[in-house]
Subunit: 329 residues, 3 copies
C-alpha cells in the first residue's frame, strides 16, 4: 500500500478532482482563492441546482471522536449537494475488533464516493488517505493535535466575507486582508484552529496580534511560521489594548484545566471575556469570530451586535465544506 | 435573543409557515381540522408526489433522550416528503462541552430547514425555538414533563379515523367525537400523553371516563381543564365497568415502580390488562389505542382483533408528522 | 400473529417480491443464479439508472449488535438504489423499555418499506419477519449463531467472479465451480460464515478442503450437510499442504480466546497466517477471500497481490445486497 502523496491544491480545478485534503500546506494561494470563490457561487445557487451537482454520491462520514458540529456541517453540505451520507462512529466500528485504520478506510472506499475522517491521532488522515483507492478523496475533519484544514478554510472565508464590502462577493484573501489587523485571543497554545489560521494568514499583508496568558502563549513553531511569511506579528498585553486597532477578533476559550491551579485561572479569566461593554472600545466594523462551541468567553449580551460574526461563521462553514466536496468529487 | 412567542396555529395555512410548535395550546380548532385534513391528503398521495413536496429540505432531528419510535417516525415523515435528515443525539452533542441549548439550536439552524427536538426538561422546546432565526420552525417531540404535541395530534387523528365511517376521509374532531365516550385507562398521573389528549378533547362534546388506581389518578389540573370545556368527565371504579359504554379506549402502562410497594402493585395490576377475554364485554366497534411501546398491559392475544388500533395509530403518526412538517415548511 | 413461513426463493423474480430472507435454505439453485445475475446487472448500471429503481423507498436498518461493515454495506446498497435509510441501534431502541422484538418489527413496518435486522439471538430474523405485515420484506443480516445469508450470497458471488473468465459476466455457480477446489481455513467451528458457505457449496461439483486446528474443526452437522450433496469433502493437515491444489482460499480468523491455554494457541497460530511468502506455493490464479475484518491472519504484504480478493469481495457485497433489496422490493 503506497504512502499518501499529498496533492497540491492549486487554482486549477482539475488538480482537485479525486484529491485528498489532509493539511493546509496543500493549498496554493490560487487554490484558496478557488475554494472561496466556489463557496460564494454555491451560496447563490438555488436548492435544486445545488442538489443536481452530486446527485447520488455517497459520503462516508467517519468520526472516531464525537464532534456534532463538524459532523452535521459535513452531512448538511453533502445533502445539499444532492448526495447522501453514511455515518460511522468509533463506538460502533470494527476498530473495536482490532482492525487497522487503513483496512477500515479501504473498506469504506468500497461503498462510498468520498470519505470524511475525524480521528484523535495526528497523521491519521494521511494514513487513511494513503489506503484508499486512487481517485477516491478523503477530507480531514481534524486529526488530534494535527490539522483541521476545513475549519481553517471556513475561518479564512469568514474573515474575507467580514472584511469585504457588504453586498458584493467576498474579495480574495490578498485583497481583503491587506493592511488589516487580526487579533487572536485566548488559548493560543492548544488551539489547533488558531495554529492553522495563523499559518494560513502568514502569506498575506496582514498584522497579526496575539493575546494570551503566558501559560497559553502561541507556540514558537507557529510564531516562526508567521515570521517566515509577509504578515507582521505582535503580542499585546491585554485584550483591551489589542482591541482598539482590531479589524477582526478571533476568540478561543481559556480552559480552567490548562492552568497550574485555580488561582492562576481566576487571575486572568475575566480579561479574556468579550462582552457588549468591552466591545464599545472596538471599531464599529470589528468582526468577532469564534470556532464554537463557546462557554462563557463571549457573553450572550453581545450576540445581537451586528459585529458578532460567529453564527455567520458557522453558516459559512456549510458553504466552505460544500465547496471542498464539490471540488474533490 | 428574543423569547419564544408562540404562533397561533389556525385554519389558515399561511399562519403555519415558519412557525414552531411547542404546545397543544397553540392550536385553534380550525388549526386541528387543517392538520388532520392535511394528514388525510398526504396519506392518499403516491410516493413520487409526496417526495416532490419538500425535495432537498433538511431536518435536524435532535434527541437529547432516546426515543426510537418518535425519532424514526419523524425521520420517515421527512424522507417521504422528499427531504433528508441529520440525526443528533445528546451523547454526541456539544452539550457535553458546556454549550447552551440556545447555542446548539442556533448552530443547527445554520444547516437545517426545520428542527425536531426531544429534551428531558420542560420548556426546552420553547427556549430552543426562541433561539432560532425567525421563520425557521421547530417541532417539539417531547420536553420532559412538559408537552408532546405531535403525539397528541396523532392520537386525536387516530380517534377521528376510528370513530368516522370506514372507507371515507376522517371527519373533523367535532363531528366524529360528538356523543362518543372515550375511556382513558392506566397511569393517568404521569402520562404526558393522556394529559395532552384530555386537554385537547375538552373542547368537544365527548364523554371522558378516567380509570386509574388512586395512586395514579389524573392530576387535578388536567381534570379542571376538562371541566372548563364542553366535554363531560367521569371516573369509573374499574376498567370492566367503564368498558361497556366505551367507543374508544386509550390504554397506558401501569408501572410497578410508581407504587409504594410490590403488594400495592400486585393488588391492582390485573385489573388494568386488556385482553381478548375482557374485550368480549366491549362494543364491537370499540377502538383500542396505546401510545406504544407496550409491555403487558395489552395482551398479544388481542392483536388480531380488528378493534386493536394501536399499530394503525403508529402509522397515523407518520402521516400526522408529515402533515405538521408540510405545514411549517 | 402468524409464524413466519419462509418463501422459496426461486428463479422466478415474482416469488421474491415482498418475501423475507432469513436462511440460505430458502434459495433454489435457480434462485441463486437469479440473484447473482441481478448483482452483475446492477454493477453495470450507471448511478442515475440505479437510483431510479427504488426512488423514495425507506429501509429500516436495525442493528441490535454493532456491525459497521454489514450496516454500511446495506445503507450504501439502499442509497445507491435511490432509497433512504433509517438506522436503529439497540442502544437507543424501545427494547430497553421491555418491548418485544415482534412489536418493534411491527412498529418499524409502519414506517419502512423493507427491514434489515441484525440480532444476537438465533431465530430472531424469522420471529421478526413473522410479525411484519404480509408483503413487507425483512433481510436477515445475521442472527447470532444462526444464519447470515447475505454474507453467504456475497461469498458465493465472489467465488463465481474470481473463478470465471476475466472481463465477462460471472458464470453461474454450477459452471464456474465445476472441478474446482475451495479450501476453507481457520476457525471452522465457530464461523457462521463458513458454515453457510459450505452448505451452499454442497450442491455443486466442487472439492471442499477443510483446514483447522483440532479444537476448531468443522462441526459434524455441517460436514454431514456437505456429504449429502454432490461436493466432495476432505481435510488437510496444514494450510501449506492444502494450498497447492487450491483454486480459492477462504480464510477466517483463529482467535486466541478459543483455545484452552495460550500455549495451545501459540503452537498453531503461525500455520494459519497467509502471507506473500506462503502464497508463492499457491496457484497463480488462487483467489484469497476473507469476510473481514482481519487482524493478522492475512499479512498486509499480500494486499497488493492480484490474488488478494478480499477488498473486491467487500465491493461485491454492495452489489449482492443491492440485488437482494432490488428483488424483494
Amino acid at each position: 500500500m503506497a504512502a499518501f502523496a499529498p496533492a497540491t491544491l492549486s487554482g486549477d480545478a482539475a488538480a482537485w478532482r479525486g484529491a485528498s485534503l489532509c493539511s493546509v500546506t496543500q493549498f496554493t494561494e490560487a487554490g484558496l482563492d478557488l475554494v472561496l470563490r466556489r463557496a460564494e457561487e454555491l451560496r447563490l445557487l438555488d436548492r435544486g441546482a445545488a442538489r443536481a451537482r452530486h446527485a447520488g454520491a455517497v459520503l462516508a462520514n467517519v468520526f472516531y471522536e464525537p464532534s456534532t458540529r463538524t459532523s452535521c456541517s459535513f452531512q448538511a453540505a453533502m445533502l445539499r449537494l444532492g448526495g447522501s451520507v453514511i455515518c460511522v462512529a468509533e463506538s460502533t466500528s470494527s476498530a473495536k475488533k482490532g482492525e487497522t485504520l487503513e483496512d477500515t478506510a479501504r473498506s469504506l472506499g468500497c461503498y462510498a464516493d468520498v470519505v470524511v475522517l475525524r480521528h484523535p491521532e495526528a497523521g491519521a488522515a494521511a494514513r487513511a488517505a494513503g489506503a484508499l483507492p486512487p481517485g477516491l478523496p478523503l477530507l480531514n475533519a481534524g486529526d488530534g493535535v494535527g490539522e483541521h484544514p476545513t475549519q481553517a478554510v471556513l475561518d479564512l472565508y469568514t474573515l474575507c466575507r467580514e472584511l469585504s464590502p457588504a453586498g458584493a462577493p467576498a474579495l480574495p484573501p490578498r485583497a481583503c486582508l491587506k493592511g488589516k489587523t487580526v487579533v487572536l485571543v485566548g488559548d493560543l497554545k492548544h488551539g489547533r484552529t488558531v495554529h492553522s489560521l495563523a499559518k494560513m494568514l502568514a502569506a498575506f499583508d496582514v498584522a497579526l496580534v496575539f493575546v494570551a496568558p503566558p501559560e497559553l502563549a502561541m507556540p514558537a513553531g507557529v510564531a516562526a511560521a508567521v515570521d517566515a511569511g509577509t504578515a507582521t506579528r505582535a503580542e499585546a498585553p491585554s485584550l483591551a489594548a489589542a482591541l482598539v486597532d482590531a479589524d477582526a477578533l478571533y476568540v478561543t476559550r481559556v480552559q480552567k484545566e490548562r492552568f497550574p491551579d485555580a488561582a492562576a485561572y481566576e487571575a486572568v479569566r475575566g480579561s479574556y471575556v468579550v462582552d457588549a461593554q468591552l466591545m464599545k472600545t472596538a471599531k464599529p466594523s470589528c468582526a468577532v469570530l469564534h470556532p464554537l462551541p463557546r462557554v462563557d468567553e463571549i457573553s450572550a449580551d453581545f450576540d445581537s451586535d451586528p459585529r458578532a460574526a460567529y453564527f455567520r461563521q458557522m453558516r459559512n462553514g456549510l458553504f466552505a465544506r460544500m465547496a471542498l466536496l464539490d471540488l474533490v468529487l
